[in-house]
């Protein structure tokens, strides 16, 4: 995708208008718009809001004009853009322009939670519309595209259903309670799977990046489903205020895990198809399976140890080692430390296995690493640890707030893991980090790099930003 600036700005303006309509009407419906814009008249405030959305859409179009990413993947950039705009616009520029102090205090931020949701909705809608408008105007060949689309949909449905079934079987009512009935749950699962399949119709990603992107998709599903569409369909008020949002918070970890599981299932299905039917040359690698797996495991373990050391400091300080020791039926810190180190190494090795070859600079390494840490905060600290120590998953906003030190630990763990793993991988000058490669390989490299430079940073940023912001702001 590489269109001219005027066309991109025009498309961005239209996309911004549509996005603004979506979020603005919802805000107006809940009566929050006038408070946000500080204009008493609802009509004028909506007009001003839409005007600002058009400007934001133009900026979005200009920024994303040359970003080499598949159209569907832009959704993550939209989510990131919306969340960032909440910090820049709602908390900073709006107070400044209205002569008030910056809204950087926790009180102002909590009061501005509806705007956070509105900005996220705006970002998602703007990105989706912009992606559609930016598509080249070619008539689709239905004879070719129809079977492909059916295959993509089938993959999406099956991966979504599989993820839903696995999570429901593993977690029980904690997971199934995010929907009012089984049908809604199945629809939610299928929608998640289809969304990922549509976003990545030609998915050839590794498992790790797919899981991270799935987590980012989970945020989008949470906002679109439990926060917007499900209340709207049920005829209840949109739960966008901080207090109301706390009530639907338990659906957030569920959606994130559902998104990740569906993405992983979809990716594995894709991989299975390639394994069975694709040309073996397509799967050829520069190293044998044994060598590359062993190297990935060892490098990941080294990164896991480094990350584990960072995490150990936090664990020791907050006295969390005793909690971890409960996994082995003990309460001793020493036992907890041993278990923590083993978990760090295991997660590090699995990171190596799933994120091999996925970083071509330090930033991408750290980005993936933090995503992995976040994912394991949801899956480990909030879900598996309580489950394996005899309790139930702790998915409430209060429990998440109590686990905030663990979140910081997971961020540190992931950042150190990603940085060390990338450094060890880069020492061998692999082909995807070199410039002196044949032109035929360069095309493959270009595709690989465009994925890294394209949707991947959007996915990392949306995972990082939305999680940290919500966890801090929601408990009040």
């Amino acid at each position: 995708m590489n269109t001219g600036m005027p066309a991109a700005a025009r498309n961005g303006a239209v996309a911004g208008l549509v996005g603004g309509l979506g979020s603005g009407v919802a805000l107006a419906h809940t009566g929050l718009l006038t408070a946000m814009t500080l204009i008493p008249s609802p009509a004028v405030s909506l007009a001003v809001y839409l005007g600002s959305c058009v400007v934001l859409g133009v900026i979005f179009g200009a920024l994303l004009r040359q970003t080499p990413t598949e159209p569907g993947q832009m959704i993550f950039w939209g989510l990131t853009y919306g969340t960032l705009w909440w910090y820049v616009g709602t908390l900073t520029l709006t107070p400044l322009l209205s002569g008030k102090p910056l809204g950087w205090g926790i009180g102002a931020a909590t009061a501005a939670v509806p705007a956070l949701i509105a900005d996220a909705v705006f970002g998602l809608l703007t990105a989706a519309v912009f992606a559609v408008l930016q598509r080249p105007p070619t008539a689709p060949d239905w004879r070719k595209s129809l079977p492909r689309s059916v295959a993509v949909l089938a993959r999406g449905v099956s991966s979504g259903l599989t993820a839903t079934a696995v999570l429901a079987a593993t977690l029980g009512t904690v997971f199934t309670s995010i929907a009012s009935n089984t049908t809604t749950l199945v629809v939610l699962g299928m929608t998640t799977g289809i969304c990922f399949a549509v976003l990545y119709p030609h998915s050839q990603h590794a498992t790790g990046p797919a899981a991270a992107r799935g987590a980012a998709l989970g945020f989008g599903i949470w906002i679109a489903g439990p926060v917007c569409l499900l209340p709207a369909l049920n005829g209840t008020a949109l739960p966008w205020a901080a207090g109301q949002l706390r009530e639907v918070f338990p659906a957030l970890p569920a959606c994130v895990l559902l998104g990740s599981a569906a993405a992983v299932a979809g990716t594995w299905l894709s991989g299975l198809r390639r394994l069975l039917f694709a040309d073996p040359a397509e799967r050829a690698d520069e190293e044998g399976l044994g060598t590359r797996t062993a190297r990935a495991l060892v490098r990941g373990a080294a990164g896991g140890i480094a990350g584990g050391l960072v995490f150990t400091i936090i664990m020791a300080q907050i006295g969390y080692l005793g909690t971890v020791a409960q996994l082995a039926g003990s309460t001793r810190a020493g036992t907890g430390l041993v278990i923590h180190v083993l978990i760090s190494i295991t997660l590090g090795s699995s990171y190596g296995l799933f994120f091999r070859r996925q970083s071509d600079d330090l930033s991408s390494g750290i980005g993936w690493g933090i995503c992995w840490g976040f994912l394991w905060w949801f899956l480990g600290a909030l879900t598996l640890l309580p489950l394996w120590t005899g309790g139930a998953p702790q998915w409430t906003a209060t429990a998440a707030a109590a686990a905030f030190p663990s979140l910081i630990g997971h961020i540190g763990y992931g950042a150190a893991l990603g940085a060390v793993f990338h450094t060890l991988e880069a020492r061998y000058s692999p082909w995807w980090m070199r410039d002196d490669i044949p032109s035929t390989v360069r095309a493959q490299l270009s595709q690989h790099r465009s994925q890294l430079a394209g949707s991947a940073p959007g996915a990392w940023a949306s995972v990082i930003l939305v999680t940290v912001t919500l966890i801090i702001v929601l408990p009040g």
């Binding site: 040359q66 205090g105 926790i106 907050i318 961020i411 950042a415 450094t423 940290v468």
Partner: protein, 711 residues
């Protein structure tokens, strides 16, 4: 200088001893215990920790960061060890409180943090990386602006009052963070959004470090990473993310129109020294590998070129295994291109070297010629068999210097079994079944044991052959075989060989060899169809034509491995005569163990010379000597300790397996050994035994073919 220091140390020790003995108040037992404890503490704890740290940094840290990281790690460790008793409160009396403003542990952490900050600053201050300097400055500017804005936000400073020691400390930490954020952000074309999002993420990370960790800790607030602290400093989270994003934008603005000075292009790259290594054996590969580690930092600070006439490194200690049929030939060769990822590997033969113009002339396998200039040249071209002018030896004897040698020898031996099976005449059959190996060193001893194992492992396929007709003879010119080993161990080896039916004849030299028999100088003719020569090598003939100083045909070097009279030419391995510093008048032996150590030391010397320092002489003592004696038997000498039998055999396999380059090769060889334990050896002959082909084979004599390969 060394002696002076030793003498000074001895004097001081003497003074202390006299003082301790003559002073009546000194607790002599306590002093003794203290000294022993210090010794144990130093040797058993401190030294291994320092060495471990150094090795870890050497392996894991990129080249350019190693120096400062190593210095910081050693200083931190030393400080921690010294401060440990104070931090732990060993011997502290409650009625004697510390007068220091903060706890010892906190003070130690501050000092260690300062050490690492200094190391970071030292690295960032290295001239030449303009992008990093630019990024650091951009980070500083943005951080200064953000710090001022933060100070002006009264509500934020009030909310976070308990988390920080004061505005000045906050501003300082924020500015330091800005510099760090700017230093790690690097603009790459087409990655603007990626950079900005990474900037925002790094801003978030720095917020966690600054506001949830460093500032609360400096303020004496409990560091708990709690949500309450996060909420109290929420404004600074927003500020940190904006700071990261703005720093990324500023870096992009000041970098985007400038020529890239990060990844060097052919046009912009400064002239880098080129180090040319000739030879792909143990020595050459060891040099290149060590240079890769020392000089590589994602991108290399020197060009390393390795020229070899084979595209793999041969693991010669296992050649006898290939000849004996226990190992597949390809499994003991490591491809150079797989081993050396940062080295340019040229598959070519060196035809000439011009020391004055500093050039090397090459001829590729296709016959193309090329000339390559060098700044430093390493010659590790090895040796070839020396036939010592013995009549018929070159034409009728096998050697064991290459993979084809080993494969040819195995095939020849299997073929003799086939021929003997069909041979009705007993005399001729006994000749076909006789094997003579000349040379009782490691290669010859291991080879004859392996060949004997091969023959006895497959003889059940040849039921007409009488085991009594097999004959294996090991001839050695010296008074005892395995002269490098301890005499007792050599005697044990001889005993074991005799028990296996191998004749060991010492003080015997070959007089002549023909296609039917071997004639030693004691005139006892040995009819034999298989003769193997492992008794002598001579340095590669290439070194003779270079015009450099020679010593017994090898390049005369000083103890730093530099060739006499040549400032930029170095030599190691079998082609070099390197004085042994630990035994004046002697030279380092031509073993793989020494070549490996010479290679690593030479690479260090080249790095030192490139950095303007003086090279160091090599000092190396043999660690262990191992010799396999066939069928799960071996002899080993480790730092003077002797070992034999199955344990020594396991040690032999274990040691050589770890030395084998490449994980895949280790696994392949392990699998070969495993299969050999459970299944019979193979007797497949790639070429059929037919009379019309035998004439061809006779023309294609083993040594001629071997010489061709070596050339």
């Amino acid at each position: 200088m060394r002696r002076f220091l030793m003498a000074s140390g001895a004097l001081l020790v003497g003074y202390a001893v006299v003082g301790a003995l003559t002073e009546p108040d000194v607790n002599k037992v306590g002093v003794l215990i203290f000294l022993v404890a210090v010794l144990i503490f130093h040797d058993a704890l401190f030294l291994p920790l320092v060495i471990g740290f150094g090795a870890l940094i050497q392996r894991a840290v990129p080249g350019a960061w190693r120096g400062s990281s190593r210095a910081a790690a050693i200083i931190s460790l030393s400080l921690s060890v010294v401060a440990a008793p104070l931090v732990l409160g060993v011997g502290r009396s409650p009625d004697n409180p510390s007068v220091l403003p903060r706890a010892y542990g906190h003070g130690l952490i501050i000092v260690v943090a300062l050490v690492w900050l200094a190391a970071l600053a030292r690295r960032l201050a290295v001239p030449g990386d303009r992008n990093r300097l630019r990024g650091t400055l951009a980070g500083l500017i943005v951080a200064a602006v953000v710090a001022v804005i933060e100070l002006m936000q009264n509500n934020m400073t009030v909310a976070s009052a308990g988390l920080t020691p004061g505005p000045a400390a906050t501003a300082v930490v924020t500015v330091i963070g800005g510099a760090l954020i700017g230093a790690v952000l690097r603009y790459r074309p087409g990655r603007l959004l990626s950079l900005m999002t990474f900037g925002v993420s790094v801003g978030l990370l720095w917020w966690a470090i600054e506001w949830l960790t460093v500032l609360p800790w400096l303020a004496g607030h409990r560091v708990s990473w709690s949500l309450a602290d996060a909420q109290a400093s929420f404004g600074f989270l927003a500020a940190g993310m904006l700071q990261g994003g703005l720093t990324a934008a500023l870096i992009t603005a000041v970098t985007v129109d400038r020529p890239a000075s990060g990844p060097a292009t052919a046009e912009t790259a400064p002239e880098r020294p080129r180090i040319v290594v000739v030879g792909g054996g143990f020595g050459g590969v060891a040099v290149a590998q060590r240079l890769e580690r020392r000089l590589t930092n994602g991108r290399s600070s020197a060009d390393v070129v390795l020229i070899s006439d084979s595209n793999y490194q041969l693991f010669t200690p296992m050649l006898a295994g290939v000849a004996g049929g226990t190992l597949s030939s390809q499994h003991i060769g490591a491809p150079l291109r797989a081993t050396l990822r940062h080295t340019e590997v040229r598959h070519a033969t060196v035809e000439a070297i011009n020391g004055r113009q500093q050039t090397v002339s090459l001829r590729s396998e296709a016959g193309d010629t090329a000339t390559l200039s060098y700044d430093q040249l390493v010659l590790a071209v090895g040796a070839i068999p020396n036939y010592r002018g013995i009549p018929g030896l070159r034409q009728h004897a096998f050697t064991l210097k290459s993979l084809p040698d080993a494969v040819r020898l195995r095939e020849h031996l299997i073929r003799q079994l086939e021929l003997a099976e069909a041979q009705p005449a007993a005399t001729e059959r006994r000749r076909l079944l006789s094997v003579v190996v000349a040379g009782g060193g490691f290669a010859g001893t291991e080879l004859i044991a392996e060949l004997r194992d091969l023959v006895h492992a497959v003889r059940r396929y040849f039921p007409r052959l009488d085991p009594a007709e097999f004959r294996f003879v090991l001839i050695h010119a010296g008074p005892r075989i395995l002269p490098e080993l301890d005499e007792r161990l050599a005697e044990h080896a001889v005993r074991r060989l005799w028990q296996k039916g191998i004749e060991v004849r010492v003080n015997v030299r070959l007089s002549s060899v023909d296609e039917h028999a071997v004639t030693p100088d004691d005139e006892t003719v040995i009819p034999a169809a298989t003769v193997v020569w492992t008794a002598g090598n001579t340095p590669n003939p290439l070194v003779r034509g270079l015009g450099f100083d020679l010593h017994h045909g090898a390049l005369a070097c000083d103890a730093t491995m530099r060739v006499h009279g040549q400032a930029r030419v170095w030599a190691i391995g079998d082609c070099a005569a390197i004085p042994d510093e630990s035994a004046p008048g002697r030279f380092l032996p031509p073993t793989a163990q020494h070549a490996l150590r010479e290679g690593a030391a030479l690479a260090d010397n080249i790095v030192a010379v490139l950095a303007g320092r003086r090279p160091k002489p090599l000092r190396f003592r043999t660690i262990a000597l191992l010799v396999a004696l066939g069928h799960q038997d071996a002899a080993a000498q480790i730092r003077g300790r002797l070992l034999s039998g199955r344990l020594a055999w396991m040690l032999w396999r274990g040691v050589y397996l770890t030395k084998l380059p490449g994980l895949d090769k280790r696994i392949r060889v392990s699998v070969d050994w495993l299969l050999d334990m459970f299944f019979p050896r193979d007797v497949v002959l790639p070429r059929p035994v037919r009379a019309d082909r035998l004439d061809d084979d006779a023309d294609d004599s083993p040594a001629e073919a071997s010489a061709e390969t070596t050339r």
